[in-house]
């Protein structure tokens, strides 16, 4: 971060510039010198470390070190490290954090085979990871020690020697036990370690063996597979889940051919698990199948995996199987029959709901045949605890499918739309139940916000299908019911607005939009009546959602004449303008954004004769927004104003086009005194757009196809641009922002200045400048300092007359400043994070020593 110097500019930063050397990941001399004392501190059991985060940083540093240089050399050059390990091992009562650290550190070193041998010779590895080590000590009770042990082993297993070591010292059995560790972190790490051991040991095993029993799998792998098989056969649900989790990770991360062999050995047992009543590890099985289905090894349609998946789709509980079904449908390579079945699984609850309502079914139901026993789904739907969650899951999964680029199976979207509408009707008591199940569903769903939200999400997603008028009518009806109902919760209302927007946008873009024109227009009229009321709601969330909806609606439909007609025949524009004075800042911000969009339309409307424009005072809107920018006490409305102004400038808003320079100048002036960094960043974006527009207008844009200008024309245009920039005080603003205490602001200002420098200070101008005697040498450093100081004071708000005087910039002076200041260096400095100095390993080592030093001092004080 750049320091802020108040009035004085940090010239030293501009002119003289340190280049910090990049932090190198090697052990430098300073660190080597500090390391022995740090090791001594760590090995001293009396020196309790208050903050162990630096141990993590220490390990990270060694990890990077061992990646770039030889671990063995590191140990040999710094014998204090080996001594540290030995010392800690000898300690009678080491702290758990130190022991855990040593386990992990040793693991990092032992990852290199030579280093492994080095440590093995000193019997350090067996003392740490063997049965005699921490395993048998009382500290093993500490989860951090067990976790350190697992992580140490994990780091170490990078070569065959480590694998042999694991098998010979009995460590593998310890890992099996740790799979069921009470600490979830340890259990998960143990599981990951087993995955690593298995995949690493089979890495070389690429070819498919003829016979699984005769195959020559490494002992380690064989041991593991036997363990998995035994777990799967056990009656313990937790052991089964652990093994399924392990297999899920194995199939997920390794796509070698041996995984197929592994599956063929285990598939029978897994199918058996599926057929059990009830299925205990449903979720884990779903994870396993999904992980396998994504592996190219099993993509062949004849693979036995698909038989198991089919079996899972049939046997698993509908509440569990949805995830599998949607996962299968997302796959590229999957037998069509399985996909059809998966879709049926998802559609079944919807089918049940549709049948439970008494609507005369003009279309057949959702399913030609039932996959599962529909009784199970019906039981789940008629129970208060499961109904809402099953429906929410199903709706979310079906919504996911809507966003797939190509759906592999035919989705019966009309009946699906009907069932979604039925669910929404049930939720507000509008559906008439036709059966006992319907009655139960109705009682459960009335007022259920969760289901309402999910159903509205998918309703919106279904808008991209072409639907017949009658169904569009029912969608409009249900949307209006939700938008109108005073009982609709603010979050549901927001979803209703989102769904409404999607339908209106889809209908306006559909080729058959003219067919639905009348229907849509009537809906819009009703919608605006509701919107008026919502804009007056006593709840700010509701007013805010209504404004956001209006903004998006105008943005998407403003080209449509029918939309504009309905909009301006309503009270909505006037009420929106009123909300610019709302007491809630979020609402004011949304009102600003909405007015930003509406004001594009008011121009279009006012151009037309006969259309009354009494509702919106379009002349004053710029003034109103500028007033908010300079006076509003909250950041949100000011940020909203600046982004509206950026849009206006980009899109050529008529009010801006009248006098762009004056507009930009006044906005930059207001932004300059703003304390909110986001407003400033917005102001910089505005400046960027403006400068690009000016340069582009004069043919100076970096467009590859633009006609090349002659150097004389170019020079004229350049000086014209420069003149305009000086008039709007662009450089005062940019250099002011460059010294801003918020780094993003300074960075952005720097980027813009570099871009401008590239355009304005090209070689030719440089020559001209030099020839005119405009060099720093000629004017002197004092001049530069004075200029920058003057600009800085000018950028701040001051009485009118003074500002004019101070702002009268000399274009040549600007060019000179741009050339002189080391913007590129500044850019590099700004890109560096603020703690780059504190991050160095040397600083870390010093910190460790300093912490211990204070502890010692405190200890002395105590005596």
């Amino acid at each position: 971060m750049l320091p802020c110097y108040g009035d004085a500019l940090p010239l030293s930063l501009f002119l003289t510039f340190f280049y910090q050397k990049k932090t190198r990941c090697i052990m430098d001399r300073e660190c080597s010198q500090l390391l022995p004392s740090v090791c001594a501190v760590l090995a001293d059991s009396r020196q309790l470390v208050a903050d162990d985060t630096f141990l993590e940083k220490f390990l990270d540093w060694f990890k990077t070190l061992t990646e770039t240089e030889s671990s063995l050399l590191l140990l040999q050059e710094n014998p204090c490290l080996t001594e540290l390990i030995t010392c800690v091992l000898k300690l009678k009562d080491p702290s758990s954090s130190t022991l855990s650290f040593i386990l992990r550190l040793t693991g990092i070193f032992a990852a290199s085979e030579s280093c492994f041998q080095y440590l093995q010779q000193r019997e350090l590895l067996i003392s740490l990871f063997g049965e005699v080590g921490p395993l048998s000590s009382a500290l093993w009770e500490e989860a951090s020690v067990r976790s350190g042990w697992v992580q140490g082993v994990h780091s170490m297993v990078q070569h065959q020697s480590a694998l042999h070591f694991l098998c010979s010292c009995g460590a593998i059995d310890v890992i099996f036990t740790l799979q069921g560790d009470p600490s979830l972190f340890v259990a998960s790490a143990a599981n990951q370690l087993l995955v690593h051991v298995l995949t690493f040991s089979l890495q070389s095993f690429q070819t498919k063996p003829e016979n699984i029993k005769d195959c020559d799998w490494p002992i380690c792998a064989q041991k593991l597979i036997v363990h998995i098989e035994e777990s799967l056969k056990s009656n313990s649900a937790s052991r089964i889940k652990q093994s399924l989790k392990l297999l899920t990770s194995v199939f997920g991360c390794c796509h070698d051919l041996w995984t197929e062999v592994l599956w063929s050995r285990l598939s029978e047992r897994i199918v058996y698990l599926l057929e059990e009543e009830p299925v205990h590890a449903g979720h884990s099985l779903v994870d396993l199948f999904l992980s396998m289905a994504r592996s190219p090894v099993f993509s062949c349609p004849e693979c036995s995996l698909w038989t198991s998946v089919t079996c899972a789709l049939e046997h698993l509980n509908p509440a569990q199987v949805g995830r599998l079904a949607v996962g299968v449908l997302k796959l590229q390579e999957c037998p069509q029959a399985v996909k059809i079945q998966a879709l049926s699984v998802l559609l079944q609850p919807m089918d049940c709901v549709l049948k439970a309502a008494s609507q005369p079914l003009e279309y057949p139901g959702l399913l030609n045949r039932s996959v599962n026993d529909s009784a199970t789904v019906e039981t789940l739907l008629s129970c208060r605890s499961s109904c809402a969650s099953l429906l929410c899951q199903t709706l979310t999964h079906l919504e996911e499918l809507q966003y797939l680029t190509c759906l592999p199976v035919d989705l019966p979207h009309i009946p699906l739309l009907q069932s979604v509408v039925t669910i929404l009707q049930f939720c507000i008591g509008l559906a008439t139940p036709a059966s006992c199940l319907g009655n139960k569903i109705s009682r459960i769903l009335i007022g259920c916000f969760r289901v309402q939200r999910s159903a509205l999400d998918i309703l919106g997603a279904l808008s991209h299908w072409e639907s017949p008028s009658v169904f569009i009518g029912s969608v409009f009806d249900i949307l209006l019911a939700y938008l109108k109902s005073p009982d609709t919760s603010p979050t549901v209302l927001k979803k209703s607005f989102q769904a409404t927007l999607k339908w209106l946008v889809s209908l306006s873009e559909a080729p058959s939009s003219k067919d639905h024109w009348q229907q849509t227009e009537q809906f819009l009229r009703d919608l605006f009546l509701v919107l008026q009321k919502r804009l007056c709601s006593p709840y700010w969330e509701v007013r805010d959602s209504a404004l956001e909806f209006l903004t998006l609606l105008v943005k998407h439909l403003r080209e449509k004449e029918w939309f504009r007609q309905v909009l301006f025949s309503s009270e909505v524009p006037k009420l929106t303008e009123d909300l610019l004075e709302d007491p809630e800042s979020y609402v004011r911000a949304s009102a600003v954004t909405a007015m930003g969009q509406l004001s594009f339309l008011t121009h279009l409307i006012s151009k037309k004769p006969g259309v009354e424009n009494g509702n919106v005072k379009e002349k004053s809107i710029v003034a109103q927004l500028k007033e908010i920018l300079s006076t509003d006490s909250e950041g949100f409305p000011r940020r909203a104003v600046i982004s509206v102004f950026i849009d206006w400038l980009r899109e050529g808003h008529p009010d801006v086009l009248k006098d762009t320079e004056q507009f930009v100048s006044s906005v930059l002036q207001a932004v300059n005194s703003d304390l909110d960094w986001e407003v400033k960043a917005g102001g910089l974006e505005l400046a960027e757009v403006f400068s690009a527009q000016i340069l582009g207008r004069l043919g100076l844009a970096a467009c590859p196809y633009a006609a090349v200008l002659s150097s004389a024309t170019r020079s004229t245009h350049l000086s014209e641009s420069l003149q305009i920039f000086c008039q709007v005080k662009l450089f005062e603003f940019l250099f002011g922002a460059l010294c801003d205490c918020d780094r993003p602001v300074a960075q952005k200002a720097c980027d813009i200045l570099i871009a401008l420098k590239a355009e304005l200070c090209d070689e030719s101008s440089l020559k001209e400048g030099t020839s005119a005697g405009l060099s720093t040498e000629a004017r002197g450093i004092a001049w530069l300092e004075e200029t920058l100081r003057r600009w800085s004071s000018c950028a701040k708000p001051c009485p009118r007359g003074d500002a004019d005087e101070a702002g009268s910039q000399d274009p040549n002076g600007v060019l000179l400043v741009l050339r002189t200041v080391d913007l590129e260096g500044l850019h590099r400095s700004l890109n560096r994070s603020s703690d780059h100095i504190e991050k160095s390993p040397q600083s870390l080592l010093q910190d460790i020593l300093a912490t211990v030093g204070t502890l010692e001092e405190n200890e002395a004080d105590c005596y």
């Binding site: 109705s442 005073p486 009982d487 009321k533 007056c536 006593p538 007491p583 809630e584």
Partner: protein, 613 residues
Amino acid sequence: MLDCGLDMTSTLNFLPLPLVQSPRLSKLPGWVLKDGNTFLDKTELLDLSTVDVILISNYHCMMALPYITEYTGFTGTVYATEPTVQIGRLLMEELVNFIERVPKAQSASLWKNKEVQRLLPAPLKDAVEVSTWRRCYTMPEVNSALSKIQLVGYSQKIELFGAVQVTPLSSGYALGSSNWIIQSHYEKVSYVSGSSLLTTHPQAMDQASLKNSDVLILTGLTQIPTANPDGMVGEFCSNLAMTVRNGGNVLVPCYPSGVIYDLLECLYQYIDSAGLSNVPFYFISPVANSSLEFSQIFAEWLCHNKQTKVYLPEPPFPHAELIQTNKLKHYPSIHGDFSNDFKQPCVVFTGHPSLRFGDVVHFMELWGKSSLNTVIFTEPDFSYLEALAPYQPLAMKCVYCPIDTRLNFIQVSKLLKEVQPLHVVCPEQYTQPPPTQSHRTDLMIDCQPPAMSYRRAEVLTLPFKRRYEKIEIMPELADSLVPLEIKPGISLATVSAVLHTKDNKHVLQPPPKPAQPPASKKRKRVSDDAPECKPLKPLLSGSIPMDQFVQTLEKHGFSDVKVEDTAKGHIVLLQEAETLIQIEEDSTHIICDNDETLRVKLRDLVLKFLQKF
């Protein structure tokens, strides 16, 4: 008698009573009501003069009181809380004032003759029991009726003739609104009427005291179960703001107490944020001032938050501040000061919600023609379409935001789960979905066992029997008792006493001493004589061990003793003596042939095994 509300829907059959002559109203065509009027007074079912006690649950449920106390020969007592009486008085006063200040030039009653009524246009010709329709009562009648009320406080126990004890409990619906517990020593009936679980201004509902009821009579649920009060208040505010922003006026027909306090509180929080600070709020009612002031002094009847404000000290309701800052102004009527201060656009709260009388009639006539204005109905008692009928065609916007804070069916099922009464008794309407929404099975009472329902004028036997009475024993009598422990923890004693019953209280007194020989020779007064006391035979308890009994018999010379087991006990057969002893659980019979000595001997042997007391 539980409550005496007044069904005022029959007023919808009449034309509004305008404050000034309205040629429009006098030329109105006929209007057909959708539902017939059913003000049914089933007096033949019950002679109201025999009613001893009336329990009032809230001020809306006492509007018919003068008709009962002043016209039926009623001599009993009415129990109600203080706010109920005070606000009830205001409602009655407002009603009487509204009616009396526009006296009709003539009144007709001949049309009520059935022969004439038959010839009248619909709906009048279809109205039932029009002969029972009454003129509005007068202020002296109101005062007389209210003088018969005895004030009670929450949780106060009131003895009714020694037969039952009644206790009012807070019901959370309105200031001073109560549920009642009616209990004897062994039975408890709860009367839950007009209760609310929402946090509005009144003290929260006391649910705990309703537990362990044998019967819970449930009535006064929300009239609009589909309208959630929170949503409706939001709707109210939105419509109000929208109208005022567009330059229109808002009319809120309402009662002078109740929901209006909550609405004013909401508006207090909302007006600044909605930019309505400069819009005047007018509250026009002959009792407006009293209502606003009464609400501030009933601190002990308010919800906890408002009670704590009183100790600060601050007025519990923010309408005090609205009045202070001149945002809310109140007037007894539209005449006088109001006409000087009146500014538009404005918001007017005034009665009566039926739109048939009161100042609201004037505003309907005044503002009905402009589409800028809005009338917002918040009281659920009247169908707003019927209330508006005589004002049609109407340009002003009409919004229906019924705010009924009383229990809805979800809350009822929660309450019943919590309170767990053995039986629930409720009106029939609550046991089936509303007729207009027959698919909404969630809009009915769902409890186990199913609720017992009753219809109008139906006589229902409550599902419990009185099995026990509590009897007190006088101390001197208690002193004389000698309990004998027959089982650990169970002692018995015989009591000879005189049972004295008065006012449904039963007392055991010591029996009178044996009559002294008359001191004088006056004639004995038979009637005053205490009952004659014969010496009592001791009571026996215990069982006879058969083996030992047989041994004893044998010891006493009965040789051929045979014992037979029967279903109820044993038969001991003394063949030689031709005697049978039949021993059963609660009786022993010695059957011998006219040998009294033998019987006495055997009896004494049996008695040896039994305890006497």
